[in-house]
């Protein structure tokens, strides 16, 4: 059974200033599932709806963001949770940190700058489970941190004493202290150097392999997905363009946008000419009609300008939203 099922989800930002209302359709008709024990990658450019999607599935709904339609349901064992109708209290008490945890880009903002790392661990564990035996708790935290390959010294350091990569790994250690079933990692390595990025991603992979949980990895960097994710979803302008196992996304992409993303990546050892797509990603306050990619698509047809392409399954686990594929099935 799927860990998370998202069905036909639409989430819009609605603002009304001086009587002028504006709707930004950041996530529009998105359906997908997360399975237990996998790393699921979400890729897309800035303002394609990646972050909004995460906000909704982690229950972080604050105005002006509103869910227009659809459902988000989790299955933690026998325990089912409807994320869109859960109270904030239940969410905080039962789910955050324990079942769903979140790793974000700037780890500095997670760690309290005036407290040692071990105190931050204490704060989090104390609010969620309470600490009956301090000595045992320290021992457990040390074990946890060592198992993830971090030296025990980090626990007695202040955040500013650690390097950026080490801080990000501490943030990941914090996020996994309760062994959550879902770890949401939003651009976890974007601000880091390549060598450090590699270390942090290795750690995420190790944790996943150790505890067989699910990691939702969101990043715009396709090379990271190629090396880390099991399945990848490509978002464009608030919709799913394509979803497939990583091998298929990279070796046999069907959507013209995915094809462009893959083929335009420069690689060391290869200098063939790479080009950019014409135009720019659309403004989601006023998205194009039909397929949202049609203005930039090299294979645009008449139907693309008027009709929204459905997300169809072309093969087991490979879904594409493109009229070209619908007209010429494999």
């Amino acid at each position: 059974m799927a860990l998370l099922s998202v069905e036909n989800l639409s989430a819009y930002y609605r603002t009304e200033i001086y009587g002028i209302s504006r709707t930004v359709r950041a996530v529009d008709g998105v359906s997908f599932e997360l399975k237990p024990n996998e790393i699921y990658g979400v890729a897309g450019e800035s303002s394609c709806g990646k972050t909004t999607l995460i906000k909704v599935i982690s229950g972080n709904l604050k105005p002006p963001l509103k869910v227009n339609s659809g459902s988000v349901s989790y299955h933690f064992g026998i325990h089912a949770v409807d994320m869109l109708h859960i109270s904030q209290e239940e969410l905080r008490r039962d789910l955050r940190w324990k079942e769903i945890s979140y790793v974000m880009q700037g780890s500095m903002s997670v760690l309290n700058p005036v407290r040692k790392i071990i105190r931050t661990f204490e704060d989090i564990v104390d609010t969620h489970e309470g600490i009956p035996d301090k000595k045992r708790f320290f021992e457990q935290v040390r074990e946890h941190v060592n198992r993830l390959g971090l030296p025990s010294e980090v626990l007695t350091s202040y955040p500013h004493q650690l390097s950026g990569g080490m801080r990000q790994r501490v943030a990941i250690a914090l996020a996994t202290v309760f062994h959550p079933r879902l770890i949401i990692a939003d651009e976890p390595t974007t601000a880091l150097d390549v060598v450090v990025q590699r270390g942090v991603l290795q750690m995420i992979k190790d944790i996943q392999a150790m505890s067989n949980n699910t990691v939702l990895l969101v990043t715009h960097d396709m090379a990271v997905h190629a090396n880390v994710a099991d399945r990848v979803m490509i978002m464009y302008a608030g919709r799913i363009a394509e979803e497939a196992p990583t091998e298929i996304i990279f070796n046999a992409p069907l959507h013209p946008y995915t094809q462009h993303l893959i083929h335009s990546l420069p690689m060391i050892g290869e200098r063939s000419n790479k080009v950019s797509l014409r135009g720019a990603p659309p403004n989601l306050a006023n998205p194009p009609t039909g397929c949202r990619f049609h203005e930039r698509c090299p294979y645009v047809m008449d139907i693309c300008r008027t009709e929204v392409p459905e997300l169809v399954t072309v093969q087991d686990g490979h879904r594409v939203a493109c009229h070209l594929v619908k007209e010429n099935p494999l």
């Binding site: 004493q161 390097s163 390549v194 060598v195 990546l265 690689m267 790479k274 080009v275 797509l277």
Partner: protein, 339 residues
């Protein structure tokens, strides 16, 4: 090649910063004995690559004369930048060396129309006597980046896409007809689908406008794609430099090897080897203050001498490597690690 044939000649430049209070504190050597030069007649794209804290940006500030070196000299067209003192001389220098910055949305004020910057630059550098003539100069610069005055006039930064506004930023740099453009991470804030148009633009400028470009980046893949030569920086030193195919196809310095290996390849075929474990430094400052080679703490081939004395620059075919593995007495060891 004599000094007169060089557009830019950086000679043994060192920049030191004093960190800490009045008493005590420590010395941070941000740029350490760096030398390189660009040819006058043969425009090229020279990449300075390295991780954060490697000294790339300090070096670029030096080249823009935003900072003076503690030791060493920077010569532009044979003239020592330290002797450029008065305003008019500095203006002449700025005309020839122009920067392009990382985030185009920060380069331009959100409250000002972008074309105003182009006209200001044209008038300030006296490229045109009045607004009307300036329009021609601006139009020409915009054409070189694939835009037109019509597309950008009366537009505010938020009305343009990231790719477009970065091109405007390059156009602004082109107005004074510079000989050298210094681009500090010009594509890292630009969306993936628009990134290559900016990268290709630098190539076009080199070939058609004969402008040299110093491309500062941490992204080895785009560096490989556009540059002619590359210098890899580590903790203030250029540790390996030479033609980009040599350096990145067959890196010699163990640090360059690690760096290249760590770049995730955008193809799922190398997943297993990429996931092989690497060791990371725990804290930031340690490597700066280390004696000898800054990489000694992480190097798999470290020798006794590496921890004591800075390694010399060794010439290996067309490139320079700062590593004891390639000095004469260590020849056999060097042969052993050739990838």
């Amino acid at each position: 090649m004599s000094a007169a044939d060089k557009l830019l000649d950086v000679q043994h430049v060192t920049v030191e910063f004093h960190i800490g209070g009045l008493v005590g504190g420590s010395l941070l050597v941000a740029v350490n004995d760096v030398s390189f030069s660009l040819d006058m007649d043969q425009p090229e794209i020279f990449t300075l690559a390295g991780e954060s804290g490697s000294g790339k940006t300090t070096l670029s500030r030096l080249l823009l004369r935003d900072l003076e070196p503690t030791r060493g000299k920077v010569l532009f067209e044979g003239r020592d930048l330290a002797t450029v003192r008065n305003r008019s001389e500095f203006k002449e220098f700025m005309k020839k060396v122009q920067p392009v910055f990382q985030n185009p949305f920060e380069t331009f004020s959100p409250l000002r129309r972008v074309d105003a910057y182009l006209f200001d630059t044209a008038l300030n550098f006296e490229m045109a006597p009045d607004h009307q003539t300036a329009a021609r100069v601006v139009e020409e610069a915009l054409r070189n980046v694939g835009l037109s005055l019509e597309e950008v006039s009366n537009r505010y930064p938020h009305e343009l896409s990231g790719g477009q506004i970065q091109r405007v930023s390059v156009a602004r740099a082109l107005i004074s007809q510079p000989k050298l453009i210094l681009a500090d991470e010009p594509v890292s804030m630009v969306d993936a689908s628009l990134r290559m148009e900016i990268v290709n633009l630098f190539r076009k400028l080199r070939d058609e406008q004969r402008v040299s470009v110093i491309y500062i980046t941490h992204d080895l893949a785009t560096a490989y794609y556009i540059s002619d030569r590359i210098g890899i920086m580590l903790r203030g030193f250029i540790i390996e430099s030479g033609p980009v195919e040599d350096v990145l196809d067959r890196p010699l310095h163990p640090y360059t090897q690690l760096l290249k290996e760590s770049v995730p390849e955008p193809a799922p075929k190398e997943r297993e080897s990429w996931a092989k474990h690497i060791s990371l430094g725990t804290t930031e400052v340690k490597e700066y203050s280390r004696a000898g080679c800054k990489f000694a703490g992480r190097c798999p081939h470290v020798m006794e001498i590496c921890r004591v004395v800075d390694p010399p620059d060794v010439q290996v075919e067309r490139r320079t490597v700062k590593c004891y593995l390639y000095t004469e007495h260590a020849e056999p060891a060097a042969a052993g690690i050739q990838p």
